[in-house]
Structures are given as structure tokens and as C-alpha cells.
């Protein structure tokens, strides 16, 4: 869902840039205060995995593909703010080095995938985790549902930015974005749940949002 240059208007890109820059700054300040040295390599591996997995487009219906986003996975493992920093880093490199996502649209892309996909979706995950049974199954169900929602909601926000920019009317762009991303979200849920359960199996202490209560 990387927005290229030309889709989102200047004022909208400026507004999303302001919000994204503020979110990343807060995240960096918090990390400076709280982040343990031991977390550093884990963040690096998570970023590398997200970059690699985002290259793996899988086919969805009708000559369309989708790829893993990874924002919610990062949120479950590292917390919402670190997830936002990781997503911003991956998006900046993709835009500058790989011409994937426009440089002028960077603020919008970080807003959609880092702020909405990372921060908002991780809080949604915390909410789901609270409602669902306190068990490993409940935890993974919350992961799956939040992963699907992260893509679905991010696509709605993307459609909103396109509509506000006058690129496509909301009644046209919203249903089509939601339709295709409802399918892509299934892939997101499968990959995220697989990765999180693998890390839980070998090192549950590295899953930031996992607590002993759920292991009982």
C-alpha cells in the first residue's frame, strides 16, 4: 500500500508528515528512556524481516497481489512505539533506495503504516487481548484479528487520504480499497500469527506483550 508521488495532495502530505514526525519523535524519546541494550539486535532483525517479507507479494483474487505489512507483528513483539520507528525506517529506505513509495508521500505512508498500522493497531490488539480468554489461544486469536484489522483499517485511512486529495471520490475508492485489503489481511493474519507463535514457542520472554498470566 505504498503511496507513490502524485496520489496525495501537498497539504495532506504536509499534515500527515507533521503527525508522523511527531509520533516518531515521541517514540524515539521513549526508546531513549526505556530501551534496553538487549533489545537492539531484536529490533534490527525485526526490521530486516519486515523488509524481506514485504518483497514477497502473494497473489490474491483477479490479477492482484498483496504483501505482508508487519506493523502489527512489530507492535506485538516490540511495543507500539518501537513498531512505529521500525516501520518509518523501512519506509524511508524503501522510498529513497528502492523507489517504492513516493518521497513526497513519505509522511502519508508512515502515517498509514506506522501510526495507524503500528501504534493504533497495537492498542487495538491490547484491547482484543483484554476481552479474549487469558490463554495462548486467546492471545493468538487477538494477534490474528488485530493483524487482519491493521491492514483493513490502514487501507481505509489510505482511501481517506486519496479522497481528501481529490484523487478519487470516497464512495469509489473506499469500497475498492477495503475489498482487496480484506483479502490481503488474511495473509497478514496468517504470517503474523505464525511468526508470533514461533517466537512464543522458543522465547516467550521476547514477545513484549506476552505475560505470564496467558501462559497459565
Amino acid at each position: 500500500m505504498h503511496i507513490p508521488d502524485g496520489f496525495v495532495s501537498g497539504p495532506i502530505n504536509a499534515a500527515t508528515f507533521a503527525v508522523s514526525a511527531a509520533a516518531v519523535s515521541v517514540a524515539v524519546v521513549k526508546a531513549k528512556k526505556n530501551m534496553d541494550e538487549k533489545q537492539v539486535p531484536l529490533l534490527g532483525v525485526t526490521a530486516a524481516f519486515i523488509f524481506a517479507a514485504q518483497m514477497l507479494n502473494f497473489p490474491v483474487a483477479g490479477g492482484t497481489s498483496g504483501h505482508f505489512l508487519g506493523a502489527l507483528m512489530a507492535g506485538v513483539l516490540l511495543g507500539p512505539l518501537n513498531a512505529c520507528i521500525v516501520m518509518a525506517l523501512v519506509l524511508i529506505i524503501q522510498a529513497l533506495v528502492f523507489a517504492d513509495g513516493g518521497v513526497t508521500a513519505l509522511g502519508s505512508n508512515v502515517f498509514i503504516m506506522g501510526v495507524v498500522g503500528g501504534i493504533f493497531s497495537t492498542y487495538l490488539f491490547y484491547g482484543l487481548k483484554f476481552i479474549l480468554p487469558k490463554s495462548k489461544k486467546g492471545f493468538l486469536a487477538a494477534v490474528a484479528a488485530a493483524a487482519w484489522s491493521s491492514v483493513f483499517i490502514a487501507s481505509a485511512v489510505c482511501a481517506g487520504l486519496l479522497a481528501l486529495s481529490g484523487t478519487s471520490p470516497i464512495q469509489v475508492v473506499l469500497p475498492s480499497m477495503l475489498g482487496v485489503h480484506a483479502l490481503i489481511g488474511i495473509g497478514e493474519a496468517l504470517i503474523t500469527t505464525t511468526v508470533v507463535s514461533m517466537v512464543l514457542a522458543v522465547r516467550s520472554d521476547l514477545v513484549g506483550s506476552w505475560t505470564a498470566q496467558e501462559a497459565a
Binding site: 500500500m1 508521488d5 502524485g6 537492539v40 524481516f49 524481506a52 518483497m55 533506495v97 513526497t104 522458543v202
Partner: protein, 101 residues
């Protein structure tokens, strides 16, 4: 089964590199969700108009390593440099950010 942190991180990085190098050349090349919608709803040309691309000096545009004729090899090299580079960069960056002991 538990795994020490070092082994887990090596396994994670190894998996990422394997995916980026050996699997990415076989990824679907169909347009992604947003591109498909842009094409179907007639606004894809907004991104293709001359002069609209703000930054035209991406060293590895569209995940194809420049100067490599074989497309699969070009994608694999892009994956290698991308995943390896992102790991090194975030390691360095978070190393600077982390709380000092």
C-alpha cells in the same frame, strides 16, 4: 524448547536473508492492492505523469539491482542489500537511541 537470544537472532536474520534472496525473485509481479485500485478507478496516471516523481536517484529502483540482466538475480541482489542494509542501519540507529547504561 528454548533458544538463546544469539541463536534466535541469527536464525531470524538468516530467515530474512533467505526470504529476500531466494524467495523474492519468485514473488507475484501482479499489481498490489493500491495499484490495482488506482488502475481500475482511473487514477494510476497521476503517479505516472512526467515530473511527478520527486526523487529519481534511487540506486536500486523497483527492487532490481542495476546492471544485472537476469531479472531473478537482480531481485535477489536487491533483497540481499536491502535486508542486510536495513538490519545494519537499524542496529546502528537503535544502538544510538538506546538508554545508556
Amino acid at each position: 524448547m528454548t533458544m538463546n537470544t544469539k541463536n534466535l537472532l541469527i536464525a531470524g536474520l538468516g530467515l530474512s536473508l533467505l526470504l529476500a534472496v531466494f524467495v523474492s525473485p519468485y514473488a507475484s509481479s501482479s499489481p498490489d492492492g493500491l495499484e490495482r485500485v488506482a488502475e481500475d478507478k482511473g487514477f494510476l496516471e497521476k503517479a505516472e505523469a512526467p515530473g511527478v516523481t520527486a526523487w529519481e536517484h534511487s540506486p536500486i529502483p523497483d527492487y532490481a539491482f542495476p546492471g544485472v540482466k537476469n531479472e531473478k538475480v537482480a531481485t535477489a541482489l536487491a533483497g540481499l542489500f536491502g535486508a542486510g542494509g536495513i538490519f545494519a542501519l537499524s542496529y546502528g540507529l537503535f544502538g544510538l537511541i538506546r538508554k545508556k547504561a
